[in-house]
Subunit: 313 residues, 2 copies
């Protein structure tokens, strides 16, 4: 199969899929895309490599769903609307069943997030997926991580630890419920929440490497320190019956792709309404200060955060 | 070294580099980029994998220069101005000398093409570089490959075969002059030519997989056929003393990243002036017709094009 055929067979999106602001999609040297007036372009790239970011022989349908969610989450974290993505795919062999499953799930995930696949490159090598996502936001409105204010409350969406717990079960080849599994294979990129936080949150990012390492990144970018009460971390239901410290270990390991954001205390009412409207919990887990040290407590005791989350290198 | 440190140490562009239309660069979930009014966004992704797209143990300085040129060439092919790129880098180990050489050359290539590195992801795996480039063009002005007209003359910029000849020497571990080597390691993305062809060319693309396979792609996209006289192919100086058929083999193997474009015969004078202004040869190698068959001749004899160029899979 030539690369042209491979693209036609698997990667040109179905005609039924909406292509928003796409003047020219797959098939030329570049895609041609329309940015509405008074909007900025937001972009981010993520790579998922077999045996590093997902287990060996991982179901290609799960892989595509997870890859899109992980990458779209970066757009959500800045309050952007998702628009376009490009795929750099490296696969060990031309396996048509794998390609059919992967591409079908990829198109489904794109339809779900209303993001259009507009370009790609396919090579023969170890299994790896790099996605570059592009989105738009009204000029000057993007949520950044370096704009938190001292005194802001620190919030996290949804719940934590389900993904790390599911992965540990997968790696130990233990049974796991579909609901828990979905926390790992299909994290929810919080696009609606991110967009709704514009005008409410002072700073925002997504939690990919773990809530502690990521909270410290947000604080550092803003010249602040974090003060987190770990007993407040919203835990995934699967962790409910676990000893508290074990549950917190799962909840700080990352891969949850929830949003971590800071807001002035005066925004509390708006956040309560927003949580109701989106049917999504928004939990205050601490605050930001201009202290020189981060502070972590568990049930009012100082808590040592040796393992802060995922390290890439 | 953490990923944050690796990015700070190697991939944040030097302060001296111009960042055009970059509201926020590396360091947050996404980059924030400004699209001028009345312009469209163009984007393309290319992956270069060790032992597939470049030889094993290839000099990292050469690799970065080549990767940027190959990817920027897709913007040139559509008449775009280069603006931004994101890098997905997979490397087998955290080799600081390799990273220093690669990143220095990457920043130099970005400065040369006036394109800004605005995001990236680095993972540990087999050596592979995926670049997504973004550029802009006045709305509706992009050069496409599906808009050639029957009767158009078919032109190619620069000369062909130097890159394939240099690679054959590298793979045979034979001596090769710096000038020939540079055809492979530092192809010239024809940005100025692409932009100047707006309003002159009816269709345009870059030659990556070989002039025959690429000419047929352009013709097919436009619903036409090609008629190419192979003795007209502009040959790299290194091929001058070679038997003609051997030279043509090199000249049709691809990796030259010259522009292939079609233009109405009435544009001939403009093209002659443009070639002089840019100090770049623009050679008419044939034409496009509504015939049902492609036609290739060499010295007025029908020529069989068995090997049409590079196949990715």
């Amino acid at each position: 199969m030539s690369e042209d055929q491979l693209i036609r067979n698997y990667f040109v999106p179905p005609h039924s899929h909406p292509m928003r602001d796409v003047s020219l999609g797959i098939g030329d040297d570049c895609a041609i895309l329309d940015i509405p007036d008074n909007h900025q372009l937001l972009t981010s790239v993520d790579t998922l490599l077999e045996s590093v970011h997902f287990p060996k022989n991982f179901n290609p349908k799960h892989l595509a769903a997870r890859a899109v969610a992980v990458c779209v989450s970066d757009l959500a974290a800045m309050g952007a609307q998702a628009r376009w993505l490009t795929l750099a795919l490296s696969i060990p062999e031309n396996n048509s069943q794998w390609l059919a499953d992967f591409s079908q799930s990829l198109h489904e995930a794109c339809a779900y997030y209303e993001i259009s696949l507009v370009g790609g490159d396919t090579v023969k090598g170890e299994l790896s997926i790099s996605l570059t996502v592009m989105g738009i936001v009204e000029t000057g409105k993007a949520l950044r991580r370096d704009t938190a204010q001292a005194g802001d409350l620190l919030y996290v969406s949804g719940n934590l630890g389900g993904s790390a717990f599911a992965l540990s079960k997968i790696l130990q080849k233990q049974e796991v419920s579909t609901e828990v599994l979905s926390a790992y294979i299909r994290p929810q990129a919080r696009l609606s929440l991110g967009q709704a936080l514009i005008g409410i949150a002072n700073a925002c990012m997504d939690i990919s490497d773990g809530i502690i390492i990521d909270a410290e990144r947000l604080a550092k970018a803003s010249g602040l320190s974090v003060d987190i009460q770990l007993e407040k971390l919203p835990l995934h239901a699967a962790l409910a019956s676990m000893p508290q410290e074990q549950a917190i270990n799962f909840a700080t390991q990352g891969d949850d792709y929830e949003l971590l954001f800071s807001a002035n205390v005066a925004k509390c009412d708006k956040l309560v309404k927003l949580a109701t409207n989106l049917d999504l919990s928004l939990t205050c887990i601490g605050s930001l200060s201009s202290d020189s040290q981060h502070s972590y407590t568990l049930n009012n005791q100082i808590y040592s955060t040796k393992s802060k989350g995922y390290s890439h290198f």
